[in-house]
């Protein structure tokens, strides 16, 4: 398994400590420590237990961004699980089939990040869906649309922070599926609104949002507090 832990948690992706000491200095420090210290052993830490009053720390560098994606996928997967477990009355078979597909995709994304991050993965987060009325078709679809559009803008905005091209490609493989979801949900709500002017600008560009913006929007849905302050900026 190509462990994200070994590469991403090492000094090469630890770019947040600019100002404390340079990467070159860091590497020379690392060199002094000698060959017995593995790259993984220098991880800056975002263990499952790395929680304090500031919330669950997503971590730094590529690991932080991947944990950020993992947190978003946890939210989406939990939402669609509940949608398919307690379908609103009058859900058509076509809608049910869409929701089941999307749920499975989001679970696949969530579990992929969990496996890929290994020991660097954040804990399972608790959700708060009290603002969603799962018995209302309108409420479910509106929430789905918001989550999918937000997911697209989150991945689009986070791509620039990834240092390892393998992770950038993986994020790219996922974001276009999220965009397909967004388009499908939007077309269910209002046909032909799959890419309307509320998400695509006059240059034909989708939105991209920074992690802080995304989490301030998504924050109401997390019962567990998330600390994104160590993410690349």
């Amino acid at each position: 398994m190509e462990m994200i832990t070994s590469q991403a948690a090492g000094p090469l992706t630890d770019r947040n400590h600019r100002g404390q000491f340079s990467r070159r200095k860091f590497l020379s420090y690392a060199g002094i420590l000698g060959a017995t210290v593995t790259v993984g052993g220098l991880a800056t830490g975002c263990d499952k237990d790395d929680t304090d009053n500031n919330g669950v720390d997503l971590g730094t560098g590529d690991v932080g961004i991947l944990n950020y994606a993992y947190a978003l996928e946890q939210l989406e997967a939990a939402f669609y699980k509940q949608v398919t477990d307690m379908p609103y009355s009058g859900m058509t078979s076509a809608e049910a089939s869409f929701f089941a597909d999307i749920r499975d995709h989001e679970i696949a994304h969530r579990e992929f990040f969990k496996s890929a991050l290994g020991n660097n993965a954040i804990q399972a987060l608790e959700m708060n869906f009290s603002s969603v009325n799962f018995s209302s078709r309108d409420s479910v679809l509106a929430t789905a649309k918001a989550f999918e559009d937000l997911g697209v803008s989150a991945y689009n905005g986070a791509g620039r922070f990834l240092v390892n091209p393998t992770y950038l490609l993986l994020a790219g493989k996922i974001v276009s599926v999220e965009a397909r979801h967004a388009a499908a949900i939007r077309d269910i709500i209002s046909y032909n609104s799959f890419a309307d002017e509320t998400v695509v600008d006059n240059n034909g560009l989708d939105r991209s949002l920074m992690p802080a913006e995304v989490l301030s929007i998504a924050g109401t849905y997390y019962k567990t507090k998330i600390n994104a302050s160590n993410l690349p900026k």
Partner: protein, 272 residues
């Protein structure tokens, strides 16, 4: 479009933009001299000018190559949809608004990419001459809606794979990378919509790509080859961690990239 929003977006995308263009006031002056009408018409140019000031001639040729490659694909899509919308009787009234949306996006992508290339000191490739019948294979592409949708689906899904395949080549310029990602997801929205229309019309196709299925268009198999994989970064997605994720769902949940040569081979029959 709100010009201040654009600035906010640029600033978000590149917090140091104003240092690069001397200071924020200068950047605003750059825009402030336009009247509001002119701003609308020349927005991509204005955006490009800031780009140029910010990055000068330092844009590596590899980045310009990617942008020109993307421009070629956007030329193809833009002319395809422009011709389709202008073809009397092709698009049913209920679908017209959606196809017009796609047409407008593809034309905007052409303008945006040309501007980005020029402002980075490069020369945009010129538009090829297209043959959307692909030498007669899709002879009724602008008179038969099903044929049109089949070619549209192939173009959109190819576009998504093409941009994805270039992301890593744009990592040296974070703003170009972000712009490319923002186009990439729009192409995916288009693809999902076209696939949805085809699905509603009876084709065996969903908004997402299942295995390497073409949705009943055998002639475009190369667009989908490679989409069937269910392993990501050596992790098997089917049944991952004990969850009942089918092979189909595993393939659908990740879209796959295409290399440039594979993409060019796909679009070659459409270029005169």
């Amino acid at each position: 479009m709100n010009i201040l929003n654009l600035f906010n977006e640029i600033e978000k995308a590149d917090p140091e933009i104003y240092e690069r263009v001397n200071d924020r006031r200068d950047a605003f002056k750059h825009f402030g001299s336009f009247s509001s009408k002119v701003i609308l018409a020349s927005l991509p140019f204005a955006f490009g000018s800031v780009f140029k000031k910010a990055y000068g001639q330092t844009t590596p040729s590899s980045v310009l190559d990617v942008l020109n490659y993307a421009l070629t694909l956007e030329y193809l899509e833009a002319e395809f949809y422009t011709t389709a919308v202008a073809s009397q009787g092709l698009i049913p009234g209920s679908d017209n608004a959606g196809i017009v949306t796609i047409r407008d996006h593809e034309n905007a992508h052409v303008v945006f990419l040309k501007t980005a290339i020029e402002s980075a000191g490069g020369t945009p490739v010129s538009k090829p001459e297209f043959d959307f019948t692909a030498g007669g294979m899709y002879g009724n592409v602008f008179s038969n809606y099903d044929s049109f949708l089949a070619v549209a689906q192939a173009f959109e899904d190819t576009g998504v794979r093409a941009y994805k395949g270039q992301a890593a080549n744009l990592m040296s310029n974070k703003d170009v990378l972000t712009a490319a990602l923002n186009i990439h997801s729009v192409e995916a929205r288009h693809a999902a919509h076209i696939r949805r229309i085809r699905g509603a019309g009876g084709a065996a196709v969903k908004p997402w790509i299942t295995g390497k299925e073409t949705g009943g268009i055998p002639s475009v198999q190369t667009v989908y080859n490679g989409e069937e994989i269910t392993t990501q970064a050596t992790i098997e997605i089917t049944g991952i961690n004990g969850f009942s994720i089918s092979g189909n769902a595993a393939s659908e949940s990740f879209d796959e990239p295409l290399e440039k040569e594979d993409v060019l081979a796909i679009i070659k029959p459409f270029i005169k």
